[in-house]
Symmetry: C2
Subunit: 267 residues, 2 copies
DNA sequence: AAACCTTGTCTCATTATTTGAAACTTGGTT
DNA sequence: AACCAAGTTTCAAATAATGAGACAAGGTTT
C-alpha cells in the first residue's frame, strides 16, 4: 500500500507540511483536504500535530494554516551548516563590491534552483525575501550552469521534472534545446541567462566545482539590458572564475569551528 | 510510556531534528546518541528518515549530520506567511534610512526572542545570518518590551524558562529585577537595552501592539556607546512609535494577496 | 596477526500507534 | 425548523514503531 511519500508516518506528515507551503498563502483545512490523498481524519490529525509542534501556525480568526515559526529557527541552523553561504559570504561580498551589480549564490535542490544568498550592490533593501526562494533550473543562469556540470543521470532526472514553461520569447522550451545549451556551457565553462526568465534581465553564471569536478553550487552576476549586454557581462568572467575557485577551495578545507559557548555573539 | 515530547512519532522525529540543530555544528550519530533519550536503533531510524526527507543532510566524508536544505525552502514560506516581515518590510526600510542605524524586527517564539528581519543602515553586508537567529528575552530590548506588554500568565511562563546568565555587568540577573523593569517599560511605552547583552551595545525598543493591545512583535534601533547614548536614542521614540503603529495597522488590514501564477516574479 | 575495542547497521517478535468509515457537533444559510 | 458545510471525535482493525540483541566494519592495542 506504500504511498509515493515513503518513510512512514514522519514522511507523510512532512508531505502535508510541503503541501501547506506549496499553497504560498494561508490555507483552510478544507482546501488542503480537497487536494490531499489522505482521508479527512488522517489529514486532520497531521495538521493538528504539526500545529502543536509549531511547524504550522493556525490563525483562529481566519481559520487558516501556514508554515510555522519553528521553521525559521531551524532553517537558520540549516543555512549556516548545510549550505555554501557561510563559506561564500566574504567572497560574494567582495565580488558584489567589485562589479557593482546584484550577485546570487545558488545550489541545486532536487530539480530546482534554491537561492542561498544574494548581494544587492546598490540598494541594500528587500534582501531576505530571496534566501530560500526557489526558481526553475532550465531557464536561469545558475540552474543551467549547475546542470551542465552534473552527472548524466542527474541531468536526465532533473530534465524529466522540468515544466518548460515559456516565460519570455527567449525561454528554452524543450529538453533538446536545453541539452544543446548545456553542451555549450560545458565547453565554455560558464553560461548566460539571455532574458529567458524575465524580459530585460540578463545574467552571467559560473559553476562552483570541487576539486573532483562535482557541482557544489553556482554564482551569478545579474543586470538589465538597459545597463549592459552579454558582451559586457562576459567581462566579469575572470573575477567570477576567481571567486568560484576561492569558494570551492574554502569549502574543501572547511571544518566546522568548535563552539564552546553558544551565546557568545551579540545581535 | 509517553515522553515529554508528545505528538507521537512525528513529535519525536522533530525533537531529534531540534537536537541536531541545537548542536550548532555538524554532529556524529554517537554524539547524538549520547545525549538522546532514545535507544540506539530508534534514534538511528529517526536520523535515517529525516535524512531521506532532506530535513537532515549527511556528510559521508566526515560522517556528520546537519539540518538539511529542505528547511531553507520551507522557512522561506514561513517567513513570508507567518511573520510580520512582509508587512513590516517597507516600514523598517524607511525607519532604517531615516535614523541611519541598525534596525531589528523581532517576535516572541516560546520563551525566546526570534529575530525576523534586520536593516544594517551603513553596511549592507552580512544580513542573512540574523533572520532566524534567537536571543534571550530577559536582556534584549525587544525581548523585554514584548514581555512588558504580554499577559501575566505568559510572562510567568517565559520568566520561568530564562537562564539569567550574566552577559555583562549590566545584565539583569533575577526575575524580580526583570519584573520591575517590565513595569517601568509598561508605563513608558518603550524600553532600552543598557549594555545588558553586549558591552558597548545599546538599543531602544518599541512594541508592536494590535488594536486590542496584543503583542505582535517589536522593533529596535541599535547603536554603540561610542556613537550615542540612551538620551540620544530616546530621540527616536516618535519615529519608532509611528513605525510600530503603521505596522500594526497594516497587520490588521492584511489579507493575503491571491496568487494565480506562481512564477510571476523574477529573482 | 590476533584480540579487542568503538561506531554504526540490521533483525524480528512484541507492542503501541496509526488508520479511516462512520457518527457527531457546530455554526451558518435557506 | 429543516438543511448544509466545515470541522471534530470515536473505536475496532490494520499497520507501523519499538528496542534487545546480534552483526559488520574500522581502527587500535597487545
Amino acid at each position: 500500500m506504500g504511498h509515493v511519500t515513503g518513510d512512514g508516518t514522519v514522511g507523510k506528515a512532512l508531505h502535508v507540511l510541503d503541501q501547506v507551503a506549496a499553497f504560498g498563502r494561508p490555507v483552510r483545512f478544507s482546501e488542503l483536504l480537497a487536494q490531499s490523498d489522505y482521508p479527512k481524519p488522517t489529514l486532520y490529525r497531521f495538521v493538528q500535530t504539526l500545529t502543536n509542534q509549531q511547524m504550522l501556525a493556525y490563525d483562529p480568526e481566519r481559520q487558516t494554516y501556514a508554515p510555522g515559526i519553528r521553521l525559521v529557527r531551524l532553517a537558520h541552523a540549516a543555512w549556516e551548516q548545510s549550505t555554501l553561504a557561510p563559506i561564500a559570504r566574504p567572497h560574494i561580498d567582495a565580488l558584489s563590491a567589485a562589479v557593482g551589480e546584484t550577485v546570487h549564490l545558488a545550489q541545486l535542490d532536487n530539480a530546482q534552483v534554491l537561492y542561498i544568498d544574494k548581494r544587492n550592490a546598490g540598494k541594500p533593501v528587500q534582501m531576505y525575501s530571496q534566501a530560500g526562494k526557489v526558481g526553475p533550473a532550465y531557464c536561469t543562469g545558475v540552474g543551467k550552469v549547475m546542470l551542465a556540470f552534473s552527472d548524466a543521470e542527474d541531468v536526465d532526472r532533473v530534465i524529466a521534472q522540468q515544466s518548460f514553461h515559456k516565460f519570455t520569447g527567449h525561454t528554452l522550451t524543450d529538453a533538446d534545446a536545453l541539452r544543446e545549451e548545456l553542451a555549450d556551457i560545458r565547453s565554455n565553462g560558464y553560461g548566460f541567462d539571455r532574458e529567458e526568465h524575465e524580459p530585460g534581465i540578463i545574467c552571467i553564471a559560473m559553476p562552483i566545482l570541487s576539486e573532483g569536478g562535482r557541482v557544489l553550487g553556482a554564482l551569478s552576476v545579474t543586470s538589465t539590458t538597459n545597463r549592459t549586454n552579454l558582451a559586457g557581462l562576459e567581462g566579469y568572467v575572470p573575477i567570477l572564475r576567481d571567486t568560484a575557485e576561492k569558494i570551492a577551495r574554502d569549502a574543501q578545507n572547511w571544518s566546522f569551528p568548535d563552539y564552546e559557548t553558544k551565546e557568545a555573539t551579540g545581535i
